[in-house]
């Protein structure tokens, strides 16, 4: 059985590994190299300028503003999304009316249907979601779906030029990110909750625990691993946020850069407004550092004792 083993291993690994090396690993290494040059892509020669690009970034207010927006998104969106996801999943699995002969905790009627509907935005591309919400946020009082709804229910005073208002635009975009992601976590947490044995709930209810207490004392600790994974997933989405902002915001990150995020700034620096590839690559490295800090902090602060059940 041993004959030809190494030939087989090499034969099977060669193609995937070669592709991975060319399109993933080599760009990764080149990113560091390009970030230390003044390359503008037009000339074949590039000059090594050391950390000058990073120095430029540190003194660039727009970069800090964009990074700050990424951090705001990173702090707000995962908390709201995971919170809503846990809330709805708990409602779906534990909020049911007691039926004769059923277990102590039951899911609501039609839980499966709710999950199907909630999951819809997750299968659509972010492009579709962003274009759709751009229309919903239409600033005209009678043209936009949201504004005309507010007018119809007598809250006309709340009508806004949603994405055109520098104070509101980022919040509006974050709301769409939450809207898009909640369904995924409802399904994920539901799967986790349904594997928690119901006698644990029964015992707690017998001891006089309220539903709220069962959530914080039983459900959340037993789901902690899944919540942690969800947090990392959301973190990756929030560090990106490119498609949402690029499509929805006015003037790519406007108004007045009120919704600017680093990935969008990078794209504009390299491919739209200028060809400062070195500077753009340095932004990419900065993003990598922020991502790593986020990952380390997540692992450091969310570690808890694992509960076996």
């Amino acid at each position: 059985m041993r004959h030809g083993k190494y030939r087989f291993i090499i034969g099977f690994l060669a193609a995937p590994l070669a592709m991975y090396a060319v399109f993933v690993i080599s760009p990764f290494i080149q990113a560091f190299q390009i970030s230390m040059t003044d390359w503008s892509g037009l000339t074949p020669d590039m000059n090594f300028i050391g950390l000058e690009n990073y120095d430029k970034l540190v003194h660039n207010d727009l970069f800090w503003q964009a990074l700050w927006h990424n951090v705001i998104i990173l702090l707000v969106v995962p908390v709201v999304t995971l919170g809503l996801g846990l809330f709805f999943a708990f409602m779906l699995n534990v909020g049911g009316r007691r039926r004769k002969g059923a277990a102590a905790v039951t899911g609501v009627r039609g839980a499966g249907l709710y999950k199907v509907v909630y999951f819809f935005p997750q299968v659509l591309s972010i492009t579709i979601v962003a274009v759709l919400w751009q229309q919903i946020y239409n600033p005209d009082p009678s043209d936009g779906l949201l504004n005309s709804l507010l007018g119809a229910i007598g809250l006309g005073s709340l009508q806004q030029s949603w994405l055109g208002d520098p104070n509101l635009a980022l919040i509006c975009i974050m709301a769409v990110m939450v809207w898009c992601s909640v369904g995924f976590y409802v399904v994920l947490f539901s799967a986790g909750m349904s594997s928690i044995p119901s006698d644990i709930y029964e015992a707690a209810l017998l001891d006089g625990a309220t539903r709220g207490a069962t959530f914080f004392r039983i459900t959340l600790p037993l789901l902690w691993d899944t919540v942690q994974t969800g947090w990392v997933y959301m973190g990756i989405i929030c560090m990106d946020a490119f498609a949402y902002v690029q499509i929805m915001s006015v003037q790519n990150g406007g108004p007045d850069d009120a919704t600017q995020v680093v990935p969008l700034l990078l794209w504009k620096t390299a491919f739209r407004e200028s060809s400062q590839y070195g500077l753009a690559a340095a932004m990419g490295i900065a993003m990598l550092i922020v991502t790593m800090v986020f990952a380390v902090l997540t692992l450091r602060f969310s570690r808890r004792e694992r509960v076996e059940f």
Partner: protein, 303 residues
């Protein structure tokens, strides 16, 4: 045996006690919570469902109906919006392009990814762990970071703005998750069947393609759905690596551009028709295979 009996007794006891406490609970907390939870659940279902339905029903309206009264239902069905979006706005062409790119790249990802995963899961050789972590490490860093160098790698290989270029990049960036997932999956499969095939004289590659791959079907379906959706919905990579002629664009590029164009042309009904055309096939496929899709997309997080 004995533990089973104990468990059954315990469960029965629990059932009895639950029945006893049930009366106390039913009137008070259970009922209130039930109404409360249904109210919130329905509210969120509407918040998700209405915008999507709105896009569909708006695609049948005229421009003035869409703008003046966004909530009104269409009076008659203006299918010509759909025709206009399909031909004039090139949605049909974009659809075809996306289909070709995603078709090739998903098949490529699955074949190459499971080949690598099988070798890494089943064979011991020096460097096995190193190669595994090389692949899996790719899941940790953001694509945006390599955007600039990737652009030049493709340009130097004459692959910029071509279908093969996009396919190769999609495959390469789908490998980390595919290898991670399939390696774990191949480890759960029994070794004896493939060994029997080898003793019967099959080669290693024949044992892989004719024995192991069919056995790994559930895992392949999960990760396949994950890859199809991820690649179908990709926006950043084609935006940078496929900036060429309009007729080569994929659906996500086309839609984003349509939204920009529509600002000048004022063809709102065409935009909604384009959105609906892009949305419906995915939603229909999801509605039919929702169990598999939900399992496929959440599989990575539950592992």
């Amino acid at each position: 045996m004995t533990t089973d009996t104990v468990r059954v007794e315990k469960a029965a006891a629990g059932q009895r006690q639950a029945t006893r406490t049930k009366r106390r609970w039913r009137a008070s907390e259970g009922g209130v919570l039930n109404v409360f939870s249904h109210a919130f659940l329905i509210l969120w279902a509407l918040m998700v469902g209405v915008p999507l339905l709105w896009a569909v029903w708006s695609s049948f309206k005229t421009d003035s109906q869409i703008l003046g009264s966004p909530w009104s239902l269409p009076t008659n069905l203006h299918f010509e919006n759909w025709a206009r979006a399909w031909t004039k706005a090139n949605i049909g062409q974009y659809f075809l392009n996306t289909f070709v790119v995603v078709g090739f790249s998903t098949v490529g990802t699955m074949v190459l990814g499971s080949m690598a995963a099988y070798v890494l899961a089943r064979f011991e050789f020096p460097g096995n762990r190193f190669v595994y972590f090389l692949f899996v490490g790719g899941m940790a860093f953001p694509v945006i970071m390599v955007l600039v160098p990737l652009f030049f790698v493709l340009r130097n290989m004459q692959l910029l703005n071509t279908v093969p270029g996009l396919v190769l990049v999609y495959i390469a960036y789908s490998l980390p998750f595919t290898v991670f997932f399939m390696t774990a999956f191949f480890r759960t499969l029994p070794t004896s069947v493939a060994e029997a095939a080898l003793i019967d004289g099959a080669s290693h590659s024949r044992a892989f393609f004719q024995v192991m791959l069919p056995m790994a079907k559930p895992g392949l379906i999960s990760v396949g759905i994950f890859n199809i959706l991820g690649q179908w919905n990709q926006y950043l990579l084609p935006l940078v690596l496929n900036q060429g002629e309009t007729k080569q664009w994929v659906l996500t590029q086309g839609l984003a551009d349509l939204a920009v164009q529509q600002g000048y042309k004022g063809d709102w009904s065409g935009l909604f028709a384009g959105l609906t055309i892009a949305m419906l096939p995915v939603l229909v496929v999801y509605a039919v295979f929702q169990r598999q899709v939900q399992a496929g997309l959440t599989a990575g997080a539950l592992k």
